[in-house]
Symmetry: D2
Subunit: 436 residues, 4 copies
């Protein structure tokens, strides 16, 4: 991913050095298992692990791998040779990678990194959820106009939309947790997945060391529907990010202006038009959501590899896995910042609620007329006649009703109907479902 | 979906008549709830439900809805008018749809249909799993060549690939069950999701009647990440269908011919070439998998609706939901038939295993030489020299080794290494993880 | 495609009967060519063509094909048998399909249908272009606020957006015409594309009869990048349809209400709120655009068939080609209706232009001050100070400037700057590029 | 794009320094135009251009932009400030960016870069086409088995597949050239596309200097269907790359082994199995094709921006445009290397042609029998009987026919039919269509 959309954590996680570190850990843990099986001299793995801790694999090491790969044209072979050189330990050279095939290392390490990437995303999602919770609570009883098809509908709680977003992200959290579990497998099953040269005990040990589960049946690789589940969870998360972004972008329109993403000191909008504060961060998130959808497509195509494996998935994954997880992390962090600094213009909420001059209460009036004893047809005709005139002539619906001689509802009894409160009467019950 | 790819069950499920039936049921169950709340005369819902059972909504009813929709340009309004006419019950006309908005009916009914569609898919998946289990068991100890990159690698169990497919479909089952749970919500929350005109009790009652859970927070519609999860589970299922199809298509290649999809009596291959039995069903499944991926894309875009809803998702869902579920059902059924009738040519398995004249055992020879005490470098040189000659001159690797004067391994000790059995030694352990 | 989104023309074009008719024509034209080569008795093709004209292939014929396909499991074989029966002409039975392979018929006929489908789409696109041209001309000199990021920017011509849409559709027209040319090929090259059993002259003749070009090199099938180009042109067209739809949906927002899609007599918005006219047709088009993108994905995957062909593309194309062309045709027709009946509220254009109380003219004021001799910094400070006050206190920018003692520009000289006309001064030049 | 898949040319083209250089050029060319209009002192642009040539914008400059952007949160504003500082020329500071809006620079420069990126791709495509031409010619008359559905069909020219690929890439070339023309527009039309602050002459001049055409009608941005056309051409190119890759991967299967991608000195296949040369480069291209499809999806969604623009396309384009063009360039170069070094095993072509022991000639025998005067039914029965026996018993079809007492064709007359030559008789005519 381009630097602009990297977070420091994801940049570190997916750095070449960290990948090599993870590869080395998998190799070392495998050596531990072989030691326990008596196939490798005791203490070898501990020596390697100690070295890795004291002297982390760095850019120079990566450079050496690159040199060797230029000859071997095989990244893992180059890596093991470089690691053997680096370790300066004859026994490491002799036993490293014993019984394993490249994918045992690459796939297991990649899964371990994906699990950590998902943890970062889940942590950031938690922050977004907290911010949404605060907004939902703050505006729980603030009336606002609800819109369907972009057209004013009826009053509702302004906070309810944040609760709805919160619920969506809670489903995302659930999907991401499952995807984390799905991808959280270690595989060390040898060339074609039958443990011909490495017993299942090695896999079980490495899995345990990495906090993963053993892959129950593999080919040369971990099956790729697992990765597709991760990317699909991220694409759906992207959809929810976009949903929030689109809502807030709408609210920031000049004509609506109910909310505004934070505008930093020194930030340049327009040089002369002070209202020109653009929701550029929200628009950015909208684009990120598109990218997240885009990365899912090739990853879905990776599932049908040939026979025990072909390597067509590799180029896709080298790009799509770091890019998609990094973008998701970046977008959540950016959204969190937006939500934490969101400006809400309550006076505009009130102004917009009244934009149709009371028409949003017409259903209340209709029901009251029927309860007052008017036949439905007659009540309906009365309401519609005045509503239409209000809309077309730009007059107050309430005043027109006051003046209508056929209307039995007048004064306080009528005015009381022009109230958003009844529309918020079940809001507490909805919030209660979320313990709020 | 075009008739060619419909199953009878899915055709019935997504028929216009059945959708109207489901809409009518949601309306009737809502009336039951209103009765319990004392807002609707007792017995009304029961009368309506009885009528629906005695006189199912048919093509004539659908025709009447179409006529009314041509005027109202609103499908649900047309439906409720048609239903009121059809019921010939004045009270139905008066109370039908009380306090509800169109989406309450349409979304709840659609979710109920999706749950049933997923049940059909899960049932068919069960059949596929059974067929895979049988194949896995039948060929558990049958040696076959495993291929990576399309190139012969090492011997393995022929049955193991079926176990691997089984495991993939078990993950699909899990994803589909979760998706079924995710989509299994009923929503009757009124115009903008705040229950202003219908109390939550109505929703709870209808949900219970349909075997669904109440949607905890809605706008005018059920949030669309739920639908995206369903389509994403189907797209991944498609990937696994394609994985099986691609494997079997490879096995049916003339040069490989280890397996063949069933060829029916009377089926036309080539008029004169009897080997021209084409894996057309498997190729069909490959295409279906592409379509399933294709339907996911627009459904992911549906998540970000405007404000409390816009109706842009509707055209997508009218097409993608029936089409994707129908295709998945069709594909699973077709795959099941293929697997149940799959021909396996064991003589070709044996022939292909020996295609490289023993080279696939070179690693066994290498290990035996080292155990016999040869230094690794020397053993390696010996093996590689003979392997290369075998490959280039088309001679038996075993015979070349017998003739190599530097080779200490001869006779039975050598011949014993040319045996696939050691490659299958952990197969029982792998199967045991699946209780097989 | 579901009936709801079919146009009569596309329904007829893609009907089973019409496909069989096209298959029969390809067979008959091939017989003509064979006659010219002296391989088939003279007059045979003419007899077949005459029969096809007198007695079109109907549902009964399609039924017979279905019966035969149930046995042969091969649609084209079933078709030729059924056609031979139907023709009741012994020589037809003997020579029909001479030297051809199924794909020769199926691919050539499908391309001929696609060409006709694209013609229908191009015709409908013409209607949309006409409607856009009229709107562009009608509102050429109507000032309106332009918005970037959804925030008011500067005045512009209201008509200019329609000109911009027109230009986009002109590019679509160009892309569709090229795609029509790309797909407009006939192929009759036999089993594996080498004309082993049918000379190139037959292909050339059939191509000529169908208004197509011969495919210069084929395998068993026409290469599928041709189809991908068609679907990609349709997906981009969908993007432009969505662009128009999203613009007009924005303009129909209650707070903006500069335009409104036509609302038919009898159409049901809300029972009591007369402003509840929803842009449901435009929202529908937005969804259709998503579907069009979705159909492109599997068609792109169809390009890489195995060797001389596999049939995985077939299931994709049976669904995606009729569905995508039908949806495009439907959407263009619907958009045309919307544009032809579009209501524009000029009073709201004016009202919105002034919504920021003159701030949109701040750059004009700034420039005038500089021309009047004020140093840029000083002019800028003056403008910004008043602009900020206008925004924050809701006061007229013009009045504040009038009252600012440091402002040298007053009276008519100042008022003249609050004029959208200068923003429209190049509009004629832009239109002139389109001959308007 | 990750370094692994970058080419040096694309890395340079899309480097930050080169982007800034292009931005600076657009600014400088605009100054030239203003000079001609008498609005800017003569010689200013020339001074700036000279400086840019003498002292290219470097990493330090990019660093300065980054610092300024951290405050302004607007990349173009930061850039113009940095450029003004860097120029150390008071007049540059005063007139730089006169009358322009950010998108005028960013969109025009991006289009200029895309045109150059497409040129690089077209150049590499030329190399691929040359390599294909050579292969097509070298194997023009080499018989090989053609396969449909992965099953042997009939003999054909081995070279014909390369001609077919060549034709596909020629169509790609055509699509890329059109896309280059479509994206080759310059836009300098000011804040909302109406040239309010910059006359069309400036745009015309800048376009001319960059070898672009003026955008005939814009909003604040160049319309995004232009970019979608570029990505769609790249996605289809990817499909054709995949088609070649899949064909060659099939040919490299152990059982087929008709061709092999070049295997470099020192490259590591298997340590002991010399046949283990894996088509890893071709598999890599297959994955790249998936990525190219993936990048198209978000770019298609970018078309429908809000009103005169929102900036949601920006994040998509920052990633997808460099990544997709870079991947296409990389993949073409890699394919070119593969094709130039492709090993073809003619002995295996011959062996595979005979794999079905003559059955691929059954249609020749059938036709000869009919010409010899046998009724079709009788001839057919004779052929099929022997073909079936040949297939089932693994015997030579020719020998069985020799032995069949009912067969009138014997000896040389029969043997002559077992000849691939007739299947190649039109190959010259096909090649001639391509001037080969």
């Amino acid at each position: 991913m381009i630097a602009r959309y990297q977070t420091p954590e994801m940049a570190a996680l997916w750095s070449e050095e960290n990948r090599y570190r993870m590869w080395a850990l998998v190799e070392a843990y495998a050596l531990e298992a072989w030691e326990a099986l008596g196939q490798v001299p005791k203490g070898l793995a501990a020596r390697l692990l100690k070295k890795l801790e004291e002297r982390p694999l760095d850019a120079a090491f990566a450079q050496r791998v690159a040199e060797l790969e230029a000859v071997t044209r095989h990244d893992l072979v180059a890596f093991t040779r470089a690691l053997a050189e680096w370790a300066e330990d004859e026994e490491v050279g002799r036993y490293l990678h014993l019984g394993l095939t490249s994918s045992d290392i690459v796939d297991t390490a990649q899964n371990a990194l994906l699990v950590r990437a998902l943890d970062l995303i889940l942590e950031e999602l938690q922050g977004v959820a907290e911010a949404l919770k605060r907004l939902a609570l703050r505006y729980k009883h603030t009336p606002a106009i609800a819109r369907t098809h972009g057209v004013h509908a009826e009053p509702t709680s302004f906070g309810l939309r944040f609760l709805s977003f919160l619920a969506a992200f809670q489903r995302d959290e659930e999907r991401l947790r499952r995807a984390r579990e799905t991808i959280g497998v270690a595989m060390l099953s040898g060339s074609v997945g039958n443990y011909a040269h490495v017993p299942p005990e090695v896999e079980a040990h490495v899995a345990g060391r990495l906090g993963l589960e053993p892959e129950p049946v593999s080919t040369q690789v971990v099956p790729r529907d697992r990765h597709a589940e991760v990317l699909s969870a991220l694409a759906i998360l992207g959809g929810n990010l976009e949903r929030v972004a689109v809502e807030l972008r709408h609210l920031q329109r000049t004509e609506v202006l109910e909310a505004q993403e934070p505008f930093r000191e020194g930030q340049t909008g327009s040089s002369s038009m002070p209202h020109k504060k653009n929701p550029v961060s929200l628009e950015n998130l909208t684009g990120v959501a598109r990218l997240l959808r885009g990365y899912l497509v090739p990853v879905l195509e990776n599932i049908a590899l040939w026979h025990e494996r072909d390597i067509s998935h590799s180029s896709v994954e080298r790009v799509a896995l770091p890019d998609a997880t990094t973008l998701a992390h970046y977008a959540l962090r950016r959204l969190r910042g937006i939500l934490e600094g969101l400006e809400v213009f309550e006076e505009n909420l009130a102004k917009n609620l009244d934009l149709t001059r009371g028409l949003v209460y017409s259903q209340q009036v209709l029901n009251a007329l029927i309860q007052r004893g008017l036949p439905r047809d007659q009540a309906y005709a009365l309401v519609q006649r005045n509503a239409l005139r209000s809309w077309e002539e730009g007059k107050s619906f309430l005043e027109l009703l006051e003046q209508d001689p056929e209307n039995p509802l007048k004064g306080e009894a009528l005015r009381a109907l022009f109230d958003p409160a009844p529309f918020l009467k079940h809001v507490d019950a909805i919030y209660a479902r979320f313990g709020l």
